[in-house]
């Protein structure tokens, strides 16, 4: 049974529940002390040591149901079917009514349980558990059929079909048996794929999504972006929260401790700590919503929203023409919903950097000081209009940090109507953020810097 438990744990990992080796050992002990006899007990027990949050618990329950429904079948290998017992077959719902004429069946009086057991043995031989991609279905099907000696059986069916009436009946019967088994095989492959949860496929997709140009992604992938972004942001947040906690604690303030303890003969009864004052920094995010970069703006806003935990003072602005603050929308709606509303209200159109930057300056000038960070996302292509560089420069002098994220690849900067070189002079740093991986790294650095 240990192998089954290990397989179950692998199944859980595929489903996205992280399980360490120590926890696996715990699970083994749990299974030993509770036994496999009581399903509910086993479920509760394993849940307590494998699922460590409510979210994981739901996943766990689903996987448990999926897995142990399937795993019950191989147990039947031990259970031998008496070929002479028709009631055994007719009792089985799937094959009810198939009982007639089975008495004469020379070689194969097997019930559907026995057929399945044979199938599971064959699946074990070809290591079906290693199947990962849906595209592998065909090859595994072939291998299992070979292991079952399917070609031999087909020959025998054909041979019998040409013989005496009894033999013909036998052949029909074998044919039926084969069909049952094929149906079972299809089911088995489906379940195996379900068990692996297309984990490999998903992993592959995620790597692809992180590395590729966003504009190159089709809608199929773009719909899968928000969960991925949330996942990445959670990782970033966890990493930087930790750092914040460490930096908060001060060191011993020796001078103060000595002074305050003079009355006690210099014995440090009361200890005083240096406290590091945490500066409240505000972040302004200005996103270009014009056609060329709007999808990147959405990604950045999603990221900032997901990072709200570690960056609570973030204000979001968007522009095509005039800059508009949209922080309130994110407060009222879900991130996805808010993005849809923003896109609908303010989206589409050509970017006018002159108007955008000037109005942005008017909106935030009062609030920008040496603790503020400004992030601008845009390609710097103003269609030959006013660049608004004076406004940006003014903000640059006031703010602690002005960052420009440009989704265009560096080789295309300064070509055509791109003004990015001029903007470079009014920013602390212009960075390329052509893929999710790059954006993630930029934000990581940003968090390190301002936290």
């Amino acid at each position: 049974m240990e192998a089954t438990l290990l397989q179950f744990i692998r199944h859980l990992r595929h489903a996205g529940v992280g399980i360490s080796t120590a926890e696996t050992l715990d699970a083994m002990q749990v299974a030993v002390s509770l036994g496999y006899g009581d399903r509910q007990l086993l479920h509760d027990g394993l849940a307590s040591c494998l699922a460590k949050s409510e979210e994981q618990r739901q996943l766990f329950s689903r996987c448990f149901a999926q897995f142990f429904d399937l795993a019950e079948t191989p147990n039947d290998t031990t259970h031998t079917v008496d070929p002479e017992a028709p009631q055994d077959r007719s009792a089985d719902g799937e094959t009810a009514g198939e009982g007639e004429g089975q008495g004469q069946g020379g070689g194969g009086g097997m019930g559907s349980d026995a057929l399945r057991a044979e199938l599971m043995r064959a699946a074990g031989e070809v290591d079906l558990a290693a199947m990962q991609y849906p595209t592998q279905r065909g090859i595994y099907r072939r291998r299992i059929l070979d292991a079952l000696n399917d070609s031999g059986r087909r020959e025998r069916i054909a041979q019998l079909a040409g013989g005496s009436p009894t033999e013909q009946q036998q052949s029909r019967w074998l044919e039926r048996e084969r069909e049952t088994q094929l149906a079972q095989l299809g089911e088995l492959l489906d379940r195996q794929l379900l068990l692996n949860n297309n984990a490999a496929t998903r992993e592959f997709q995620e790597t692809l999504m992180r590395d590729s140009q966003l504009s190159a992604l089709d809608t199929y992938y773009r719909d899968r972006l928000p969960p991925l972004i949330r996942k990445l942001a959670k990782k970033l947040a966890a990493k930087h929260r930790q750092r914040y906690r460490r930096a908060k604690r001060g060191r011993l303030d020796l001078g103060k401790t000595l002074r305050r303890n003079i009355a006690l003969g210099g014995v440090p009864f009361h200890r005083y700590w240096k406290s590091t004052r945490r500066e409240k920094s505000e972040i302004f995010v200005l996103c270009d919503l014009s056609g060329s970069v709007s999808s990147w703006s959405q990604v950045l806003m999603l990221f900032m929203q997901a990072l709200a935990d570690v960056l609570p003072n973030t204000r979001s602005f968007v522009f095509c023409g005039e800059s508009v603050e949209v922080s309130e929308l994110f407060r009222q709606h879900d991130a996805d919903e808010a993005l849809a509303i923003i896109q609908q209200r303010h989206g589409m159109g050509n970017s006018d950097y002159g108007r955008a930057l000037n109005s942005f300056r008017q909106l935030v000038e009062e609030r920008v000081n040496r603790r503020s960070t400004i992030i601008i996302l845009g390609d710097g292509r103003g269609n030959g209009g006013d660049t608004g560089i004076a406004a940006l420069r003014e903000l640059y002098h006031r703010a602690r940090l002005v960052l420009w994220f440009n989704p265009e690849s560096q080789s295309r900067w300064n070509t055509g109507d791109s003004e990015i070189r001029r903007y470079q002079t009014a920013c602390h740093y212009v960075a390329e953020c052509g893929s999710l991986r790059k954006l993630e790294r930029l934000l990581d650095e940003l968090l390190t810097l301002i936290r």
Binding site: D26, Q29, Y36, D38, A47, C49, K52, E54, R57, A238
Partner: protein
């Protein structure tokens, strides 16, 4: 195979004797925690009886309960151990004479220091150790129940400090060495989930999530806590509370509020829930003005629901 089932059923009935009605999930986890000697991390909304479980288990096992309430800024000198500074000082003062005597024969400084070295670290021995809850629980002679309450309120570093205790039931004091538990305590940690706990901590614990109970279970809990409430009233009140939990509220009423409400209805000599009665006593169940305003118009509808 059935022994585990029996043990768990027994646990449920033993807890019930202490007035704690445990679900099967709770009893299974508690059974495992004792069998595998693992701490339990209990999560769930406030007021579902997380702390109460520790009290009941301590009473059931007839062991002392050590409770450590976590808060921001909690550190090892308050949680684990501290030195008895004043006692050390006092001893130094009192023993001044002795020290003079011991050092009397020394000619120079290095000889005096050498002599002092021969006396070990008397001032940093276990006699001057002030045990705090964590150390007390480890040192208790025949086991203990250790409750670390609201671990999510403590700082990140404190979690790391706990790791050694949770994994090995041992504490390393720099001045003395490693102190091992004489008898491994049953450790329960509770969390209200105001922040994510570290994976390292979660990995070392069994995880138990206590949700709001189902109507039937809650009814039994109320029965056990407030036995004087009539059956019909109890059903009505539990159904009402369950209805209230379906609404979008700032703070959902928990079991403790249900019990409080049952008690106050008892004081009001009510044997039936009426709209007017509910209206008057709603502030026992709900703790926010906004919530009361949400529930008030729904009272008649909620009362008409069937159990």
């Amino acid at each position: 195979m059935n022994t585990a089932r029996q043990a768990i059923d027994e646990l449920i009935s033993q807890l019930a004797e202490q007035g704690y009605i445990a679900s099967e999930q709770i009893a299974t986890t508690l059974h495992l925690a004792r069998a595998l000697q693992r701490p339990i991390l209990i999560e769930g909304p406030p007021g579902v009886g997380k702390t109460e479980l520790a009290n009941a288990s301590a009473a059931m096992l007839e062991l002392p309960l050590f409770r450590l309430q976590c808060y921001e800024g909690l550190d090892e000198s308050k949680a684990l151990y501290d030195w008895k500074y004043s006692k050390q000082l006092l001893y130094v003062q009192v023993l001044k004479e002795q020290l003079q005597g011991i050092l009397g024969g020394a000619n120079d400084l290095s000889a005096a220091v050498e002599r002092l070295h021969n006396f070990d670290d008397i001032f940093y021995s276990e006699r001057f150790l002030e045990p705090r809850p964590l150390l007390s629980a480890l040192q208790s002679d025949d086991g203990a129940v250790l409750l670390i309450d609201e671990i999510d309120k403590a700082d990140y570093e404190f979690e790391s400090l706990l790791l050694e205790i949770l994994a090995d039931f041992a504490v390393t004091l720099p001045e003395i060495g490693t102190l091992r538990a004489k008898h491994k305590p049953l450790v329960l940690l509770t969390s209200n989930n105001t922040r994510d706990l570290s994976d390292a901590l979660k990995r070392r614990c069994l995880h138990l999530y206590i949700p709001f109970p189902e109507a039937e279970l809650e009814s039994r809990i109320v029965q056990s806590r407030v036995p004087d409430v009539a059956d019909s009233l109890r059903q009505q009140l539990v159904t009402f509370v369950h209805g209230v939990r379906q609404l979008d509220l700032k703070k959902q009423p928990a079991i403790s509020e249900t019990i409080d409400w049952a008690r106050s209805l008892l004081l009001l000599h009510a044997d039936n829930l009426s709209a007017a009665l509910v209206d008057d006593s709603l502030n026992v169940l709900l703790k926010y003005e906004e919530d009361i305003n949400i529930v008030r118009p729904e009272i008649t509808r909620l009362l008409s629901q069937r159990y």
